[in-house]
Symmetry: C2
Subunit: 191 residues, 2 copies
């Protein structure tokens, strides 16, 4: 894969069940499951985005556990996965980090459980990323809560189609974000 690909999990700006703009809490399972999927599918980094200072302290405490010598010895796979995590306070910090690494802003790819206009299929975007000469970094963005608020949309360049089961758009459409990340990375980068 010649295109550098990143994932970000947003805890703000998110909507709750009533459509209100909220900040969600980081969960331990999002740290582990998503970092393992990110590592499996070759992501360069996994950004966890939250403006809440105490959540940074919490996650950093968890991550410090995964940098001890005994963790390295007994859980090398976990250590390897969580080492992809970078905690940031807002989306500008994500873009800055990628720009600092590659000299250009990433193509920002929105994922959403609802069908949004002008979405691209997985097969098509997979082909695009495999196009020879394509080098612009890609950032795939996932939401928490009831999804990413539309105040984020000005940041977005591409939209991936929703993941559907056999019942299609009319069926049950409530995967966990951990499952959605796994499926979407597999559709784009799996073998």
């Amino acid at each position: 894969m010649s295109v550098p690909v990143y994932v970000a999990l947003l805890h703000y700006p998110i909507v709750n069940r009533l459509g209100q703009l909220v900040t969600t809490a980081v969960t331990n399972m999002d740290i582990h499951d998503i970092s393992r999927s990110a590592r499996t599918f070759g992501m360069k980094k996994y950004f966890i985005v939250t403006p809440i200072e105490v959540q940074h302290e919490l996650v950093n405490r968890i991550l410090s556990h995964w940098s001890t010598e005994s963790s390295r010895q007994y859980h090398p796979d976990r250590v390897e996965a969580v080492s992809l995590i970078q905690m940031v306070r807002n989306f500008d910090e994500v873009k800055s980090a990628i720009r600092a690494e590659h000299g250009e802003d990433p193509e920002v790819v929105l994922t959403d459980a609802s069908a949004l206009p002008k979405s691209v299929s997985y097969a098509q975007y997979r082909d695009e990323l495999a196009t020879p000469g394509r080098t612009r970094p890609v950032l795939i963005v996932f939401g928490t809560g009831w999804g990413i608020s539309d105040v984020f949309y000005p940041e977005v360049h591409r939209i991936l189609a929703p993941v559907y089961g056999p019942e299609g758009a009319e069926g049950y459409n409530h995967l966990s974000v951990r499952s959605a990340v796994a499926i979407i990375l597999d559709r784009l980068f799996g073998k």
Copy 2:
């Protein structure tokens, strides 16, 4: 989908990191994430298999919370997903439940993170299940811990290939079971 498909999550017979036969603990996240994936991809039921009585009590307490009127009102998606769960004590109970429903034993499909002999590809098995006239129920089995013990292998009819990232068989191969279930059901039944 005319073939009835079931999933089972085994907590016994499992191996630990030393290859010893153990029973693992049920986790709350396995209850929720896997039931949501099972519902999304049209599974008939999600069997959680553990011989440990107190784990049955624990899970049933969690499930009873998801059968209250307020859960139905505020989290109908979660209620719909967890209603697929059936707690059983051993693998024979899984087979009995399916036999009682369909009059024949299921084809038992093993998933494993390692490459095992005679595995079938996802594309091939997806085609098989879509073959007109095919009606035998299918049971896809997932392990916990460091994987399903080979003492279980006499139960197995088919083996699915491991899920690989872009690095293939040589790459990082440590998805969470929640992520593996999501990806495998998507590969077989996703749209």
